[in-house]
Symmetry: C2
Subunit: 219 residues, 2 copies
């Protein structure tokens, strides 16, 4: 008499939703794999279907379009970015800030940012460059991106850097180093080893003196 005995009825709606979400996650994970193999623009629905054990057309019951998949990846990517930044914040900036601690925190932050970028060049391309012709992140995904930048601003503010121009210079410095490393010395460390020098230069520009990076064993 109830849904229990009816084979076509769902067991419980939230279990169904969970299964559906699991499938979506699986598709997005496969998309990341493919994109790392064939480039960001090289993602093909057919390949994606093959990878996930489905016909390409069936993916459309999970995502309305290819762009919606890119959007899910964008969302995931910025969640990961925010997490990476937050980790540094909680690890290093909560205690009272001596000059050396501030400097250390900034060096750590720079290394983490750089590591995040070069560890996944395709993700870097999706998050930080505008390379997919007509892709525009959804409002929801964009909000996550904005929140991630707030996270970073908070981290800088905790160190005493609140000047918006200094923040912009900071992002330019870090993306510049990351970009050069990815583009011109993939797998090497030609720009990675300049991070501490760059951070010291930036610290001085912001009137925060530090003798030398105190942190060790960070890379």
């Amino acid at each position: 008499m109830s849904a229990r005995a009816d084979t076509s009825a769902p067991a419980r709606p939230d279990r169904r939703a969970a299964r559906r979400q699991q499938s979506k996650d699986e598709i997005v994970a496969a998309a990341w794999d493919l994109v790392r193999e064939h480039g960001l623009a090289g993602l093909a629905m057919r390949d994606l279907g093959d990878r996930v054990g489905m016909r390409a057309q069936s993916i459309y019951s999970y995502f309305a379009s290819k762009h919606e998949i890119y959007d899910a990846m964008f969302h995931q990517g910025y969640l990961a970015f925010a997490a990476a930044i937050a980790e540094v914040k909680s690890a290093d900036t909560d205690r009272a800030g001596s000059v050396d601690q501030s400097a250390d925190a900034l060096h750590l932050m720079a290394h983490r940012f750089f590591e995040f970028c070069i560890s996944d060049p395709v993700r870097y391309q999706l998050l930080f460059q505008r390379t997919i012709p007509e892709f525009v992140p959804s409002d929801a995904s964009y909000a996550v991106a904005v929140e991630a930048y707030h996270e970073m601003n908070d981290g800088l503010a905790a160190i005493g850097i609140t000047d918006p121009q200094a923040v912009d210079l900071w992002t330019a410095l870090l993306t510049g180093l990351s970009d050069q490393q990815i583009s011109n010395d993939p797998g090497g460390d030609r720009w990675e080893r300049l991070i501490d020098r760059a951070v010291a230069m930036f610290l001085h520009d912001n009137n925060i003196n530090s003798s030398a990076p105190t942190q060790k064993g960070n890379r």
Copy 2:
């Protein structure tokens, strides 16, 4: 008796070659137009044929593949880059180098580099990022790129900066500013106005003291 009267024979081989080169140049110019309209990856042979008054297939008698067209664009782009750098060099570094002159030259170079990047974002993408999936510049085109960087190194050396790491930091700084400007504030000046500050920071890092950028009316 001679080729003069023979309609099927070429007038003069070099004239024929010139015409051919002219057609190639025309195709590449049209490719630049299209690429600025539809994005770097959005270049389609049909559009290109339409634009140049030719069937798409006929283009293959000038270029063996689409990649060969990208390669010609890459070549042109780095020629332009080298020219832009060389212009700064000849304008500002030949005279004996006082500290202020060195600083001025560096500020000028930074502004020119930045201007070159943001004035044509698609060109920037082709020259400085790896965004076309399987495109690798030919040896000839790559040689032009290398020469362009030599040009820049010479400019820096004339100012007294010969440390390879300083040169790498310099490129990271400039591409970082350019990249942020293109990606996050297209058409604006949010990062452009940080150039002088960044250069001053860099100068200090290299123990070249300058009170302030002397050059005016540069942007």
